[in-house]
């Protein structure tokens, strides 16, 4: 009996999270006539909407742009955040203040940070370019990546490093041979977070791109901006746009078992 109750509760929780997303895919298979009758489940599935977004809209270009920008910015963010987070965790660099300043960059309203960047990028010719968005996403993701990695680095006991030092390793080789293997799961989680956020980011992409570097997130907004929203193609594009992030979710849960513990309790 308890088992039955447990599974009923699990199903309720799962439905609450999954049904809305599944419904997007259901909607994307509907023909234009069926779109306005959401309760109709026995409809003839059609790929009309998918054909529409591939042939009529520059969706493929948007996907390519989003991919380039996401991968490049995440690689750079990790290059910046990994050493910095290690430094914060091991040497308490800046006595906690620098870490707080890093976190606080996300407290600044991005809508306003966009104004000076807009003029700056216009002068440097970075508007509507991949490089421009990549730079912005470094700023966008750096604070959380550093904070998350800081927690993971804190989990690694300092004694390991002392032992390595006694064995004659320098700091850099300790970082490479002792720390890096241990930080890998944490770094993987952080990387996936950065990938997902860069992929999903809307505001900067919306304000800083027009045609050349437009990403999928902005492509979606075009539907909403038009006078009559084409729900079918929108659902199709939405379904495709969230597909990579759903894959990311699958990857993430494997690491959860190892403990996303932020370095707090184990010390």
């Amino acid at each position: 009996m308890r088992r039955v109750m447990f599974w009923i509760a699990v199903v309720i929780v799962l439905c609450a999270f999954i049904l809305p997303i599944a419904w997007v895919y259901v909607t994307s298979l509907k023909s234009p006539e069926d779109i306005f009758r959401p309760e109709k489940l026995a409809f003839l599935p059609t790929l009309y909407n998918y054909k529409y977004i591939v042939t009529v809209r520059p969706s493929l270009l948007e996907f390519r742009n989003a991919l380039i920008i996401t991968l490049a910015s995440t690689a750079l963010v990790m290059g910046v955040s990994l050493p910095a987070a290690y430094s914060f965790a091991r040497f308490n660099t800046g006595g906690g203040h620098l870490l707080f300043i890093t976190i606080s960059t996300r407290m600044f309203p991005p809508v306003v940070a966009a104004i000076p960047f807009f003029f700056l990028f216009r002068d440097w010719g970075l508007l509507d370019t991949h490089l421009g968005l990549i730079l912005l996403y470094i700023y966008f993701n750096m604070s959380f990546a550093t904070f998350l990695l800081y927690g993971f680095f804190r989990e690694i006991p300092e004694e390991l490093e002392h032992a390595a030092m006694v064995d004659g390793y320098g700091r850099l080789s300790i970082f490479r041979k002792v720390i890096f293997p241990l930080i890998k799961p944490g770094a993987a989680i952080t990387t996936v977070f950065c990938l997902v956020w860069a992929w999903n980011e809307f505001l900067f992409a919306f304000l800083f791109t027009r045609r050349v570097a437009r990403t999928v997130a902005v492509g979606l907004a075009v539907f909403w901006g038009s006078i009559e929203i084409q729900w079918g193609p929108m659902a199709a594009l939405m379904g495709l746009a969230i597909l990579p992030t759903l894959a990311a979710a699958w990857f993430m849960q494997r690491f959860i078992i190892r403990g996303l513990t932020f370095g707090a309790v184990k010390g």
Binding site: F100, F108, Y139
Partner: protein, 313 residues
């Protein structure tokens, strides 16, 4: 195996041959490495955090609308904003959004985490599926809900009509719309707190709970005296991050109400002033005031987090 640089470092006294060492070795030496490692971060901070800050500081003392050259105003922008009812209303909306969302996310998230924290068949699949809403982009999420909540043909209203309710304009009726936005936020971010708590519960020391069980402590007592205090640092992490993100809430509004129907939260107000009215002077001033408020709240929460981390050690 020692390489040459390390050998040299060990044999020398600190600072002895400093001039003869190449720059690379100086930077990676014990004394400087901690600053060497944060150089990239400092560069990014310098360009992307301080430049907009100083730009805003400069502009906030000026009247700057569109492309006219800025005119010095002194503190007028600040005075104007602090006496503006619209501004305080938006602050109030942001505050209630933060309180409601964080409160529900923490309690419900902890509840679901406690409930999922056991071994069962297909546990990985269930947990993986629970993560999904977190991965949907905020804009896609808002458009998705807009479609579901559409007054005429939205699935929610269709279902409401089956059980005899009249249509509800979830996203255009003031008084309802803000709660709809809150609901959307909670739906998306509940998995985040579930996962932090799940991970935390897995990391708890088993022996303490074993001891409590042997001593015959009731589940409620164990929860209150053992689980809750041990989870406090994680609670603080969730609260800190979620409060920071919720104050900056604006993405879900793009696809739905666009600030109408009584949903103009703080950041949307700033967006409207800065990008729709294009009043740079007032917009930047608003940004600085918002930043100051956020930093104060953030600093208080950050201190609590550090304290909780210290206590859990």
């Amino acid at each position: 195996m020692l390489n040459q640089g390390d050998e040299a470092r060990i044999e020398r006294l600190p600072g002895e041959f400093r001039e003869r060492r190449p720059a690379w070795q100086v930077l990676t030496s014990e004394k400087y490495i901690k600053w060497f490692l944060v150089i990239p971060l400092l560069v990014v901070l310098g360009v992307f955090a301080f430049y907009p800050l100083f730009y805003c500081l400069y502009m906030s003392f000026h009247e700057a609308i569109l492309i006219r050259p800025p005119e010095f105003l002194g503190l007028d922008n600040y005075r104007k904003i602090l006496h503006n009812r619209l501004f305080w209303n938006s602050v109030g909306r942001s505050a209630s959004t933060v309180v409601v969302c964080v409160g529900i996310e923490i309690t419900l998230g902890l509840g679901i985490a406690l409930f999922l924290n056991r071994e069962f068949r297909g546990q990985n699949i269930v947990r993986g599926l629970c993560l999904l809403p977190l991965m949907v982009s905020p804009l896609a999420m808002s458009l998705m809900w807009k479609y579901f909540l559409e007054p005429q043909f939205g699935i929610v209203n269709v279902m409401l009509s089956w059980i005899g309710f009249s249509q509800v304009a979830f996203l255009s009726e003031s008084g309802v719309a803000l709660y709809t936005i809150m609901f959307m936020e909670i739906w998306k971010w509940l998995p985040f707190s579930i996962f932090v708590f799940l991970a935390a519960l897995r990391g708890l020391p088993k022996d303490a709970f074993e001891a409590a069980r042997v001593d015959g402590a009731s589940p409620w007592f164990t929860f209150k005296k053992l689980t809750l205090p041990m989870l406090k640092p994680f609670m603080m992490i969730v609260i800190l991050l979620r409060v920071m993100w919720l104050i900056r809430l604006s993405d879900p509004l793009f696809g739905t109400t666009q600030g109408g129907a009584g949903t103009e939260v703080l950041d949307w107000y700033i967006y409207r002033i800065a990008f729709i009215r294009f009043d740079i002077g007032e917009g930047t001033t608003l940004a600085l005031i918002a930043l100051l408020m956020t930093i104060i709240i953030g600093a208080v929460l950050f201190r609590q987090l550090i304290k909780a981390l210290g206590a859990a050690r």
